[in-house]
């Protein structure tokens, strides 16, 4: 169930091109039908620091971070040492490094297989401007039996903007790498079907948003969400739409609300600090019933925290960060490919329910790239509701569903003023208890009475033990369930995609056969655990497995902990 995998780390100084090397290797692997994940790790320097391409070639698309590495290519040891905590080696690991450089004790003590090669000299011998990263690409390609022609073609495509001589040097270096015979045995995972996609979660989210009808984006740069916005800037230009770079997140969310008020499906993306700034106005979207989608790529917090690394610690603010009673939608994509579906679904729900949707992605799925089967799409594009044509228009009319018809500026004779002040059905400000009570109930009813269908969670397996997670931890949890299965512990996994409104009845139903429920999440404060406890009465014993970032959740540790608790 876990499947065979092969993990490769390539480390070097920033600018040497280890990330490009990793990307091209994974793309060539994908062309053959291979599956795999590329995590990109950088030091804190803006340029010239260390970087690492962390590859995991797999037999399925349950992408978790590698727990140890089968092969490490260290272009130099200084830069490798900065990733010592993240790149674990063992006696079975292979290491390719520059000949003549002393091995650090931390590496030699582990006694891996060492292949010292004259990397710089081989690159130089390929071409006067030979590139070490491309030489390594050739070496690794040969080890994995990847066609040299495919590697060269992909490199030519990637370097299309560079000078001819530069591309020639790259190709010559790849060819020379491919020609080397290395005494290294790698156990290659099996290939699957071809016809796959290669993308990051942030790109997937951008595509999902545009396909769902988003035509206005307001953007304020923040790590690790900027690349969603950058990708959408280009996309909107082609599809037809506008992107505004705002002066801050306060402006970004309000511009989004303004455009949405104009009837144009609107979106912004941010990360924790930006979400905190946007919270007041997300409440305005809720109160004025203006549909907006806020895509939040989580990073380590609180405060500036760990901007370049992943954590699932914005759940609390996404659920509870708005002042007053402000029911809204909170969703979380389960993996890179699911960023297309879940983002599209969030846009659709926000439009349909005329409210704010907060989507909780994170740095791990946002900035990693992966080979995936063609992603599932949200079948329902964002729809503006038809409006009634009567002259006495009630924008916030009380209805059975809680959903009122919506007019946009330009619509004839439906004029109203949207308001963050409490209001009556017409939209006129009102401080009366009866209006307040009715409008609070309306905004709650429309979310609670809506039929969300089967997509609120991904439920798999069965057993008396359940692992409940949300968003990106679902992959590690699924892998942990596989490990538990191997130990004879039948496990059900529930990966929540819709966090608010919580589908408590449906969740209780899928947990009905279970006796022990483990809530697994990547944060320190047990945020999901406390939320579930607050929302539901559990007949089962509820346990928390909460591990702060930025280290990725480890399936082996999850399985071990669960087994130990069950045995106690």
């Amino acid at each position: 169930m876990v499947g065979k995998h092969l993990s490769i780390a390539i480390t070097g100084a920033g600018g040497v091109g280890v990330i490009s090397c990793g990307e091209l290797l994974l793309q060539a692997w994908a062309r053959l039908g291979g599956r795999g994940l590329l995590r990109k790790a950088y030091g804190p320097q803006i340029r010239g620091g260390e970087s690492a391409a962390l590859l995991k070639l797999t037999e399925n698309e349950r992408y978790t971070a590698a727990e140890h590495y089968d092969l490490v290519v260290a272009l130099d040891w200084d830069n490798f040492s900065r990733f010592e905590d993240e790149i674990k080696l063992g006696p079975d690991s292979w290491v390719i490094c520059q000949e003549g450089e002393a091995l650090p004790a931390a590496v030699s003590d582990l006694q891996p297989h060492i292949l010292s090669l004259p990397l710089a000299e081989l690159a130089q011998a390929s071409h006067p401007d030979g590139r070490i990263n491309m030489l390594v690409l050739g070496l690794l390609g040969a080890l994995l039996d990847l066609p040299g022609d495919s590697l060269c073609e992909l490199a030519e495509q990637k370097l299309a903007g560079k000078a001819v001589a530069y591309r020639e040097a790259a190709v010559a270096s790849i060819r020379n790498g491919c020609a080397q015979q290395l005494e290294c045995k790698l156990d290659r995972p099996a290939l699957g079907e071809t016809g796959t996609w290669y993308l990051s979660g942030n790109q997937a989210a951008g595509l999902g948003a545009l396909e769902a009808g988003i035509r206005f984006v307001a953007a304020y740069p923040i790590t690790p969400a900027s690349d969603v916005l950058e990708w959408m800037a280009g996309g909107l230009e082609q599809v037809g739409g506008q992107l505004v770079q705002a002066e801050d997140e306060l402006a970004a969310i309000n511009m989004t609300i303004g455009a949405a008020f104009g009837g144009v499906p609107s979106f912004t993306a941010t990360s924790g600090p930006g979400l905190a700034l946007m919270s007041e106005s997300i409440g305005l979207a809720v109160a004025s019933e203006t549909p907006v989608t806020v895509f939040n790529v989580m990073r380590g917090g609180p405060s500036t925290g760990i901007p370049t690394k992943s954590e699932q610690s914005d759940l609390n603010i996404a659920l509870h960060g708005l002042h007053g009673d402000a029911p809204h939608l909170v969703l979380a994509p389960l993996d890179i490919a699911d960023c297309v579906f879940t983002t599209g679904w969030a846009v659709h729900l926000a439009q349909q329910l005329q409210t704010a949707a907060i989507v909780l992605s994170d740095q791990f799925i946002g900035q990693s790239t992966a080979v995936v089967s063609e992603p599932r799409r949200c079948a329902n594009p964002a729809a503006s509701l038809a409006i009634a044509g009567d002259g006495d228009y009630l924008r916030y009319k009380l209805t059975d569903s809680g959903i009122s018809t919506v007019a946009s500026p330009g619509d004839a004779d439906q004029r109203f003023t949207a308001d963050g002040l409490e209001h009556n059905e017409k939209g006129t400000p009102s401080a009366k208890h009866s209006d307040h009570q009715q409008q609070l109930q309306k905004r709650q009813d429309k979310l609670e009475q809506f039929d969300y269908g089967e997509d609120w969670a991904q439920v798999e397996g069965s057993g008396t033990v359940a692992l409940v997670s949300f968003g990106s931890s679902s992959a590690a949890v699924a892998e942990a369930a596989g490990l538990l299965q191997e130990r004879g512990i039948a496990t059900r996994t529930v990966a929540l995609r819709l966090l608010a409104p919580l589908q408590a009845n449906a969740l209780a139903q899928v947990l009905d056969d279970c006796e022990q429920v483990f809530v697994v999440e990547q944060n320190h404060g047990k945020q999901l655990y406390h939320y579930l406890r607050g929302q539901m009465d559990f007949r089962q014993t509820l346990h928390s497995y909460a591990m702060a970032g930025p280290v990725p959740l480890n399936a082996g540790q999850i399985a071990q902990t669960v087994a130990e608790v069950l045995a106690a």
Binding site: L207, L210, G262, S408, Q414, T417, A418, D419
Partner: protein, 278 residues
Amino acid sequence: MSEMIKLKAKDYKSTVKPIWCPGCGHFSVFNAITKAMAALAISKDDTVMISGIGCSSRLPAYVDSYGFHGVHGRGLAIAQGLKVARPDLTVLAMGGDGDGFSIGGNHFIHACRRNVNLTYIAMDNEVYGMTKGQASPTTPMDWDHSKLTPHGPGVRPFKPAALALASGAPWIARGYSGNPNQMAKLIAEAIAFPGFSFLHVMSQCITFCPEQTDWKSIVHEREEPTLSDADEAAKLFLHEDGFQTGVLYAEQRATWPPEPEAAASVAALDQLAASFRV
């Protein structure tokens, strides 16, 4: 549509009753807005009033057009988002001195430099009225009527016109609540101007600043022609008394966003998706 008949100013008023105190300058701004709308024969359905929070920000609900009463300080952001997404609409943003120059100050300067084609009316009474009389960014240094700053704010007030000019606003005018006819003309001109038009209105608050009734003897119409040279305007705005009314500065400058360079099409979505295929 009802707009086929020539509408009068009063036809642009909604049925919602203003909450303002008797004698408030904002009544005059409200009347001037509806007069300007009537003069321009503006379509109610295609016009949007957008505001933040404060006494003056209540205005959108009083106009029979579309409107959005947002949160404190962010009216200009809502207005720009709307106008960029819906360039076919006539968009007016409005609010007070606290809303526009304090909590919304960052949006004000960036709206000036972005130059989206909309009109911003700042109703400046040099005081936070809705919270019962605290000093604002335009309150005189020695104004000691607030319990919050009993010795006066003690800091120099902003010069909104100078701030707008330094931030790149291409059209700057000043009106006075005591002269609604001039203000109606200024508003009509502001709406017609192709770009970000900033109308600074001295709008008296006789409840918390009764001394502002003296403004009528201080305010004076500018007799010289409108400036188009930024150097001259800078000198004027830094040294004037702040009570000169009229269109003070105007220049022609490209608005944002520009027309798209290439034709866009929804069919491009398929190409975007295809770009991810291995």
